[in-house]
Amino acid sequence: MQPAKAETGTISRLMRVFRGDQKRSELKEFTINQHPGMVVLDAIHQIQAEQAGDLACRWNCKAGKCGSCSAEINGRPRLMCMTRMGDFAPGETITVRPMKTFPVIKDLVTDVSWNYEINKKIKPFTPKPKNADGTWRMQQYEVDRVQEFRKCIECFLCQDVCHVLRDHDKKSEFGGPRFFVRAASLEMHPLDTADRVPMIKESLGVGLCNITKCCTEVCPENITITDNAIIPLKERVVSRYFDPLAALWQKISGLPKQPRGGA
């Protein structure tokens, strides 16, 4: 990939797009007219309007806010709406495939329903009682870190790139980066009182992550998934289950959770 340059004029561009379903598929070639500033999603729309009306893809906002148009563009998991065509060299063919980690439904659309099932397993937000004046007080610095996690647009690109899911298909034992981010956003919420550490260890299987940080690299929202969400959760699991001093403290104090602010 070349660095972005000021684009002028329309050029012709060869695209290869995955077409088909689980039974039959091929990479089909389309030549499109690339206008300045165009993104890959525009090219897909052009193909739909002019060459293949039934080419399936998901999209909604076209502004990087909804996380619908995830795909693999020249092998890299990206949002089609935020990938500029001009970032590729003029003669370079652009290949668009669906996310590999999830079963293909049709063309660029995959079955991501597994993610919604995992989400249901995570214990919901459980706030402590309100203050006497009927409000909850939280300082901005206290919410900064959960706000980072709450930026997640559920594009599932982190799930797509995670080798535990992608190469080892451990969907029955592992929740994946998205749901560590989700769990962290609840665990570190200043008002929350629920205990999710056993679930993070058992059903989300945080131990299987070996911190290759691929998820952090592909996140279009630039969430520091590994360092800020996964590692602190791993630490909570370790101190709960494997740290003798913490286990003793827990026994004496009767406190099920780590003190707030502790990672």
Binding site: H35, Q48, R58, A63, S68, R84, R137, K151
Partner: protein, 606 residues
Amino acid sequence: MANYQSIEHDVLIIGAGGAGIRAAIEAAEMGANVGLICKSLLGKAHTVMAEGGMAAALGNVESKDNWQVHFRDTMRGGKMLNNWRMAQLHAQEAPDRANELEAYGAVFDRTPDGRILQRNFGGHLYPRLAHVGDRTGLEMIRTLQDKAVHTKGLEVHMECTIYKLLVNDGRVCGAIGYWRQTGEFVVFKAKAVVIATGGIGKSFKVTSNSWEYTGDGHAMAYLAGADLIDMEFVQFHPTGMMWPLSVKGILVTEGVRGEGGVLRNNKGERFMFKYVPEQFKKDYADTEDEARRWLDGDKTARRPPELLTRDVVARAINAEVKAGRGTPHGGAYLDIAAARSPDYIKRKLPSMYHQFKELAQVDITKEAMEVGPTTHYIMGGVRVNPETAESTVPGIFAAGEAAGGMHGANRLGGNSLSDLLVFGRRAGMGAANYAKNLKTSPALNQADIDATLKEMTAPLDRVSGENPYTIAQDLQETMQTHVGIIREEAEMKEGLEKVLKLKERASRAQSSGTRAYNPGWNQALDLRAMLTCSEAIARAAIERKESRGGHTRNDYPDYDKDLSKVNFLIKKTTAGEMGIRKEPLPQMPAELQELFKGESNATSQS
């Protein structure tokens, strides 16, 4: 005849944005068996694109704020055409809904004393918008989504498009549609239906709206016999991206101006000072110095004119461009870099920073943005009872953008997210109560179902015909040109003729492939709703021979005294034609009228 699946619910909610999910939670908590239909995946609805915030008179930043001030701002912003009762309920209940969202787990930005922070926005006298940077809509949808999946009695149906409401004996009995993934048909039997399908922006060429905004709910309610109200009022948001072409229309949040962004023309002139309407002069600064002092927190200074209502700012940009003072791509410059530090901008407007950096290669911490009007929101919609959100057809309820009346001639920024929650909740409650009190469950009409199935498969059954994408593009071009931001009688009549011709073309739309995840076929079926809404907008816009709020006419540039007292209503006639009639505004009680003492809504608007 094609097969179909049958599913039964007490309450069927069509649309899973803020209004739909909030309605579903309410109805389910009241004990109803609820089906929640998403056209996309759950959590992707248009609400995620809302940026600036949710208006609620919490009074956390300015203690003088209260529901009366919010109500007055809303009515003034709507040029007094709003349904006063909806505006009142909205202003009164919005703070509870904001606090409730926090109780569901939303994490708003905070004040120094740890409460929900509120920011300034166009048309709001005080800082009123609870927000999370510039991604408030995402926070709302994710919070509601997680609340909904843990609510008992609530079943989510994803990637399902509803095509028609089923009505029998004058009341709703269900809805029919298809699963997008497989193309299989589905009939929902329901006692009550809530329409929460959002807006109609996809009928215009330059829009901030996604593919989902094809006006399905507006059209289905109309076809089922319900009244539509205020359809002439479409909001053109003043600041959409202008360049590159492929991103033209994408929203630039009003939060940029709320945080101090200023508008300039190609001469470097801060032109908004010239466009302050008479009615608002006492609340807005008349020098750059005063505007700057306001931004620095001087409470004696008045607000910058960039924070006028959206209709005023959009018209001003349009006028500057027409006068030859536009930017290279035909807009205005919006500059935040001069007002705020790079760190502040990145913290308060992170999505804007990334959006411009990645899509336009503009660094907004250093350079000005090029912005111009983009089709953003429809004030008009299904006419509802303010208390229950029920339409004029028993059992059909509506909330959010699909409902009309709340915003009058122009919606204030931030009043949408609050509207979604206030009236989403009321619609859920209304529908659950209606379902509970229904003595006999209405029966489905098989002939109606069979005819609809045939209608839905028609585009795939044709061996030749028109490309549905081309018809959609021609419609977008037509509405943009003929019924856009500045309107004129002859232009609109020509536009209406074109829409009617496009209707004929749509009846010949042909798609290839199978029904499984076929966007071409889906587009062919969406045309009916897009065309119905376009026709309604054009007809109402022709009838309103004045300029007011989002409706600006070259041939009638001023307010009309008589038209200031009426809404236009659209209803299908017994002959199946689109009928339009005037109806007087509901009478506002004296104690609320007091709030507007000395103001007139019949004077010139610009």
